[in-house]
Amino acid sequence: MIELINISKTYYTEGKETPVLHNVNLKIEQGEFVAIMAPSGTGKTTLLNIIGTLDKPTSGKYYFKGKDLTTLKDDELSNLRNKSIGFVFQLFNLLNRINVLENVLLPLLYSEPYPKDAKERAIKLLKSVGLDERIYYKPNALSGGQQQRVAIARALINEPDLLLADEPTGNLDSKASQEILEIFKEINKRGKTIIVVTHEKEVAKEASRIVNLKDGTIINQ
C-alpha cells in the first residue's frame, strides 16, 4: 500500500543544510499496524509527515496505493489527505470553540461530495470510542484520553485507508494510553492500516511490526 524508495529529506535554513532522513526504504502492506520507533528528534515526525503528504521529500519516490505522489499538486494532495489519510496528533489538535460532534465532522468541511449521513456517521464513530454521551461538550471539558478519542473519531470520519498517529499517547497517563492503543488495535482489526510514531516501547509492542529509525535511516524492519 505504501512504498518509500530512497527517501531523503534535508532542511535548508539560512544556507545551512540539515539532513534529517537519508535513503529511507519502507514498504507497508494494507492492514498492517506499524510502529516507527526512534528517540526524539531523529526525524520520525518528518518521516510521518512525508507519509502523510504534509511534507515533501528532497529526493526519492513515494508510492501510495501504486500512485507516485511526488508528482501530485498541492490541491490533489489535499484531496488525498481528506479522503484517504486520517491524522492523530500528540496534542489532539481539537478546536475548542466547537463541540465534539462538530470537531468530528470537521474534515467533511472540505469533502466533495458532502455525505448525506454525515451526522449519523459521526455519532456512530463517537459511540464506538465511547463518547456518544458527550457529543455536545466542548473538547476542553473532556479529559486528555477522551480528547484523543474524539481526535480518532475525527480521523476516521471519511473512512480513510491509512491512519497516522504521531506520539498519540505522549500526553496521556498509562490508563488512557492503554485505552487508545486498544482502540487502535480494534480499528486495525477492521482492516485499516495504522502507522504510529513513538519513542515508547510499551506503545510499539502493541503494533504488529516495529520499524526502528536511527540517525535518519531505518536500521531494521
Partner: protein, 407 residues
Amino acid sequence: MKRLRFFRILLHSIKALINQKVKTILMMLGTAIGIMLLSGVMGLTRGVEMRIEEVMKTFGPRSGVIFSGGGRIQTAGGRASVEVRLKLSDLENLRNKLGEKAIFSGAIRREGVQVKYENQIQETTIFAVDPDFPYCAEWYLKEGEPLNFFDEKIKARTCLLGTTVLKNIFQEENPIGKRIFINKIPFIVKGILQSKGTSPGGWDMDDTIWIPLSTGMKRVFHTDNIRIIRFKVREGFPLKETISEVEETLRILHKVKEGEEDFRIRTPDFIAKRINEMTKTAKIAGFSLAVIALIVGGIVLMNILLLSLSERVPEIGLKRAIGAKEKDIFLEFLLESIVVSILGMFLGLLLGIIPVWLLPKLLPDIPMAFSFKSFTYGFAFAFFVGTIFGVQPARRASMLTPIEALR
C-alpha cells in the same frame, strides 16, 4: 446548502466569529462607525432631496417670487426689510412687457392678523392677492367662488379661507356667505382654498385668508406698496431666459445696476441651489469622516485578524492535514473579514438612526430623512472594506505550509 463547500466554510467562519464575541465586536466597530456616518450623510442627502422636492411642489417648478428689498439689506423672507420698493406700477409694467411669456400677480402677506367670527377669535396670515395669484401659485379653490376682477376693481370685502382657519373658526359649519371680521372690517366668505399642507420652511400654509389685493392695500393695510410679485413662466418659454428678462426689466424700472438691486428674485431652482450649498460642506465633511472611519476600521480589522492569526496557526495546520486546500484557508479568513464588516454595517445602520433622528431635533434647519440607499451603499462599502483588508491576513494564513503550521 451544506452540499456546497462555500456555504459550509461560510457557516464555519460565522461560527468562529460568534465564538469570539469580544474580538468580533472590536473588529466590527470601525466599520460600524463608518457606516453610521455614511448613513448620516445619506440621510442628509435624502433630506435635502425631499426638501427640494417640497419646494418644487409648493412653488411649482416654473414659478418664482420677487421680493422687495434686496442686495445689501437681505434678510430671511424679506419680512424684516425696511425698504419697500415694489409698486403696483412695477406689476403693470411687467405685465405689459412680459405678459406673453409669464403670468404676474402682486401680493401682500401679513402674519398675525386678528380674525373674528361670532365669538371665535384667531390670528392668521392674510394674503392680499390679485385675481391672477391662483395661477401663479398653482393654488386653487376647493369650494365656492374665486376672487375675481370685479372684487379687485371695487375693493370688495370678500375673502377665501384656508382649511386651517376654516377648521379653527367655523368647525363643522359651512362658511360660504358668512360674515367674518378681519382687523374689525367685515368680510363675506366666498370660498375655501385647497389644502397645501406644511411649507418647506415648516409653517402651516393653510393657516391663511385671501382677500383682494386692492382691498388689502386701501382698506386693511393702507399702503401703496406691494411686497411680493409672484410669477409663473408660461409653458413653451425658456425658464432661465425669461427670469433674466424679468430681472432686467425690473432693473430698468428701478434704475439700478446689476448687483445693486432693491429686489430679490427667488425661484425653486435658486432655493434648491441654496439648500444644496448650505448642506454641501456637511455632506463632504460627513462623507470624508465616513471614509476615514472605514479605512481606519479596515486597518484595525486587518491587524486584529493578523494578531489572531498567530494563535490560530495550529488550527490552520490541522485543517491542512484534514484536507483543506490553500484556497479553502484563504476563503475562510476572507469570509471572516467580510462577515465581520457586514455585521459592522448592520450595527452602523442601527447607530445611523442616531444622526438621522437626533440632528433634526437639535437643529431643525437640517433636513434629514431615512434613506434606503444607506443600506445598499453601506453594504457595498462594508463588503469592499472586508475584502480589501481581509486579503492580507487570508493570504498569510493560506501561505503557511502544513508542517510550518503544525510545528
